[in-house]
């Protein structure tokens, strides 16, 4: 079944993915994180020991499920194509930028939508940056930006990332090699089987619907096409209903306990970098995982870039902290972006501009 040929079906895909995210949040995933690609890749990088932040280490079965779900459905529907060769190392950098921007804001575009649906006004502020970043990417595309052609390659190449994900799943369930947080966000999770099945369903739906959070806004700016935005709308509505129904809807800034901060400029710039880099890379973090699942080695390299970016964020103290409540004094401790994170983010944005205006499409 094709999920991308009508707005109605696209909205249904969004609703199904929203239900998956709501279920996982209900059964234990961290409050308002529910299903965040950046946070979950960061947790998985922690489980592999790529960084030592003890509160964010857990091999998230959702990430594994997304890649495997996209892989299985694309093989089953003959859409699997092993491709590679479209400026992989530039995509690696873009993956790092996407992750650093996400961890300065505290969430990927998917989580931004989830946070928006929970009344978190910081996410609405960040949306401004995300749209501006996408608009800058679209400007570059109109000026002829391209990372060049990918080519068909050995069939096995596209299967490497799905195989590695399967390997992480086996290590996580059959050995004690991987790290797992005992406190903090990394310790909060739905049962493994539920997370895995949720990831598989989400991955399959995202593959069939071409769901992309950067693409949705990009298509509106570039060609006044609202198709992909419909998926996001469906997901937003389901999460909004879920948050209101379960008392998770808290309207305002500086809300303790929801893993967010209110440094507006850095929320805007964080998502600016993510939007910009995602348009240059041809898709948001979720879409990169899905494309990697359906055989794109270039997207797989972007995903590896996100893993490395996540490790750097915690090894070099780039990630922001969330607003919290001091248990003893009952005072609100405002979350903040560390100095190192601000410097790194500015370098990331500069890197995006260099990439955007030095890579031109070959003349046909």
């Amino acid at each position: 079944m094709n999920f991308s040929d009508s707005k109605k079906k696209l909205a249904i895909a969004g609703v199904v993915c929203g239900l998956v995210a709501a279920c996982l949040a209900y059964f234990g995933n961290p409050a308002n994180m529910a299903f965040c690609i950046a946070c979950f890749i960061r947790d998985t990088a922690g489980a592999l020991g790529m960084h030592q932040a003890e509160v964010v280490q857990y091999a998230r079965p959702e990430i594994i499920g997304l890649v495997l779900g996209a892989f299985i459905i694309s093989v089953a529907t003959k859409e699997y194509r092993s491709t590679a060769g479209s400026s992989p190392m530039i995509r690696f950098i873009l993956g790092m930028v996407i992750m650093i921007g996400s961890l300065v804001f505290l969430g990927c575009p998917l989580r931004m939508i989830i946070r928006m649906s929970a009344g978190d006004l910081n996410a609405w502020v960040a949306l401004i940056g995300f749209i501006l970043g996408i608009a800058t990417g679209v400007f570059a595309l109109k000026k002829g930006f391209s990372l060049g052609r990918a080519h068909l390659t050995n069939k096995m190449s596209g299967g490497v990332l799905p195989a590695l994900m399967l390997g992480i799943l086996i290590l996580a369930t059959a050995t004690t090699l991987l790290k797992a947080s005992e406190t903090g966000p990394g310790s909060l999770h739905a049962p493994i089987i539920m997370s895995l099945v949720g990831g598989l369903i989400f991955g399959a739906m995202a593959q069939k619907s071409r769901m992309c959070f950067a693409g949705g806004i990009r298509d509106v700016i570039l060609m006044r096409n609202f198709d992909l935005l419909t998926v996001i709308g469906g997901l937003f509505v389901v999460m909004l209903i879920f948050n209101i129904a379960t008392g998770r809807f808290v309207f305002g800034f500086n809300t303790p306990g929801i893993i967010a901060h209110s440094e507006h400029l850095w929320n805007i710039l964080g998502m600016y970098a993510v939007g910009f880099a995602a348009v240059l890379a041809g898709g948001c973090p979720l879409r990169q995982l899905i494309l990697a699942g359906q055989g794109s080695s270039d997207s797989a390299v972007t995903v590896i870039g996100m893993f490395v970016g996540a490790a750097l964020c915690h090894n070099f103290g780039l990630a922001a902290s969330g607003t919290s409540m001091n248990a003893e004094t009952q005072e609100i401790v405002a979350g903040a972006v560390p100095f190192n994170g601000k410097v790194a983010l500015i370098i990331c944005i500069a890197a995006c501009f260099i990439i955007a205006f030095t890579n031109k499409r070959e003349k046909a």
Binding site: N2, S4, D5, K78, E79, R81, T83, G85, S86, L141, K142, S146, L147, G148, R149, A150, H151, L152, R210, G215, R218, D219, L222, M223, A281, G282, G283, R361, A364
Partner: protein, 67 residues
């Protein structure tokens, strides 16, 4: 027939090249793409602009002829 080779390009480049190719001309244009969703996007775009399409599978993707 004018041919646009968009094989291997990332989204939204195939669609941008298609838009450029059919702009201001009623002549048939052949668009080559790699991914199934790109083929569908090109077909949809042509339809929205009042043009008919015929698609066929080629060795490394699809050929969409916009008439």
């Amino acid at each position: 027939m004018k041919e646009v080779d968009a094989r291997g390009l990332s989204c939204p480049e195939p669609l941008m090249l298609t838009a450029e190719a059919i702009k201001g001309t009623k002549e048939p244009v052949k668009i080559l793409v790699t991914e199934p969703h790109q083929k569908m996007n090109v077909e949809k775009f042509a339809k929205e602009h009042g043009r008919k399409t015929t698609s066929s599978e080629i060795e490394d993707g699809y050929a969409v002829v916009i008439e």
